[in-house]
Symmetry: C2
Subunit: 326 residues, 2 copies
């Protein structure tokens, strides 16, 4: 199959390599030609996926129209802020688009498949999501994701395309649930990182993760998701890895806030995008619009956008009065 | 209030201390008089809760009938294998029993509150469960649990008794769900530890945890639990901390199996009970009786009771064909 992968970060590179190793003709596109040239020369993505060799026959193409031309499948692993702009430039008729991007668009409240519905209404969209640290996928240690589509044939094709013993692919029809799980968990992971930075223990982090999951589910259900999706790979699975792994960018972002750095300091010195930062803002917007209570998401938003101190935000969460679990 | 705490392990000691610091008259009982004498002399539980000072006015009593006499609340934090025997010896009329023990009885398939219903039918039983590593609770870092009872007044009393900012207590009426979550997560944690021992990454562990949660929920629902309880503190919350924390005994048990030690070697050298070991057996029995598919629990059972190699058990799980998420 001819496949275009858009986004030469860690996740796009890992997925392009995985598909290429399976015998597909894969072209990897990135917006920065100099970065692509580095990949071509070194045959390694030293910046985002260090230590993983890239085969010679994996195409690296800086021109989007060439990269996507005649592709039977386009897999997108761009930062969410570039998603609308880049997908506007794609050929109007692309049979299947797989989105591996996790985010919620500001003001519209749309997930990536929601943007695709507007931009590319004739394509079948599939969202993949789950606990997938890119470096681990590239190293071939076992991982599992869920592929969600409103088209069961497209979900099946994505499942068959990506599935192998070390990369298990489950299927789902709950696109909005799978996408919101993947997006919102980054916000909760920032709060979990704050717990780490403040020196709290694993009990506190697990409790915060659980209450965060409850917010994710409440907000998701208000947006039309199935509640049980948040107990799956794109919900609990992705949330736990993002909250507990040392490799998680969003957790690390929160950890540095908890250790006393300012938002600006962290933003200026982070190599990669922490998707939880823009998502906190759009999730808080979405929750207000849907009239859903999301105290953890709101506190993260206050830390990121209103200068609230991390310790104060956590104290305000801890002092809320618990009642029955929901 | 006059409170008896039964079980002088880490969890019983931490809870007795917490209640005592709040001004209650607390008596801690343990089955081993020599161990209690050590606590009395050192004013520290060096074996199970090192580094935590025990106040002079916390009573330590080796006689069960004296310890439990006139207690308004009896809190039980015994290993599950001792639960039936000890609760048989308690005064028939005890107003409220709080169980902090997590397990499933072999052959009967009963949880601890199920045993209490048989042994002490006139008492009101409350189960507390959640992500609570004893050492962290004793150190006063924020933790959260759920208190479940079929009597809402008993749940309220337990909540009021135990709740403070650093120990948040939510309430629930789903006793069987809360208890099965707390018991079954120890079995999944053994499998998660095997992942660690085999050198798998965080993706694999998060996927296993998610699929394990799905088994817990399926089996729980078959036994009458509410599915959403498994997304709460006693389900997801306790499961994540037990699968990810270095302090977790059950995870550590699995890790040593994954590193190549035999079950006998690990059992002989572990100071504390890993509840997941007996629970794996009774959970597998229960799943067969309820005709529920529990592949992860069954593989743990095979490792523990049939000598199956850890690497083979994991390979058999990874090679199962995924379909839709459930």
């Amino acid at each position: 199959m001819k496949i275009a992968v858009l986004g030469a970060g860690g996740w796009g590179t890992a997925l392009a390599r995985l598909l290429h190793l399976d015998g597909h003709s894969v072209t990897l596109w990135g917006h920065n030609p100099a970065h692509l040239l580095d990949l071509k020369t070194a045959r390694e993505n030293k910046r985002y996926l260090p230590g993983i060799a890239l085969p010679e026959s994996l195409f690296l193409e800086p021109d989007l129209s060439i990269a996507s031309k005649d592709a039977e499948i386009i897999l997108i692993a761009l930062p969410s802020r570039a998603f609308r702009e880049i997908t506007c430039e794609l050929p109007a008729v692309s049979p299947i688009i797989i989105s591996a991007t996790k985010g919620i668009e500001r003001d519209t409240g749309l997930t990536m498949c929601g943007i695709l519905e507007q931009n590319m209404p004739s394509s079948k969209a599939v969202a993949i999501s789950g606990p997938t640290l890119a470096l681990e996928v590239a190293r071939g240690v076992p991982s599992a994701v869920v592929a969600a589509s409103s088209s069961s044939s497209a979900a099946d094709i994505a499942q068959q395309l990506l599935h192998r013993p070390a990369f298990r692919v489950y299927s789902s029809s709950d696109v909005i649930g799978v996408e919101l799980g993947g997006a919102l968990k980054n916000v909760v992971a920032i709060a979990a990182g704050v717990c780490d930075g403040l020196g709290f223990g694993d009990n506190a982090k697990a409790a915060l993760l659980t209450r965060g999951l409850s917010e994710m589910r409440r907000l998701g259900v208000a947006c039309g998701a199935q509640p049980e999706t948040f107990s799956g790979l794109s919900g609990v699975g992705d949330l736990t890895v993002t909250c507990f792994s040392k490799l998680s960018r969003n957790r690390r972002f929160g950890e540095r806030l908890g250790q006393g750095e300012s938002v600006e300091q962290v933003l200026q010195t982070m190599e990669m995008v922490a998707e939880g930062v823009p998502t906190a803002y759009s999730a808080s917007q979405l929750a207000r619009n849907q009239q859903v209570a999301t105290p953890i998401i709101d506190e993260v938003c206050s830390m990121l956008y209103e200068g609230k101190q991390a310790a104060q935000a956590m104290e305000d969460l801890i002092n809320r009065q618990p009642k029955a679990e929901d």
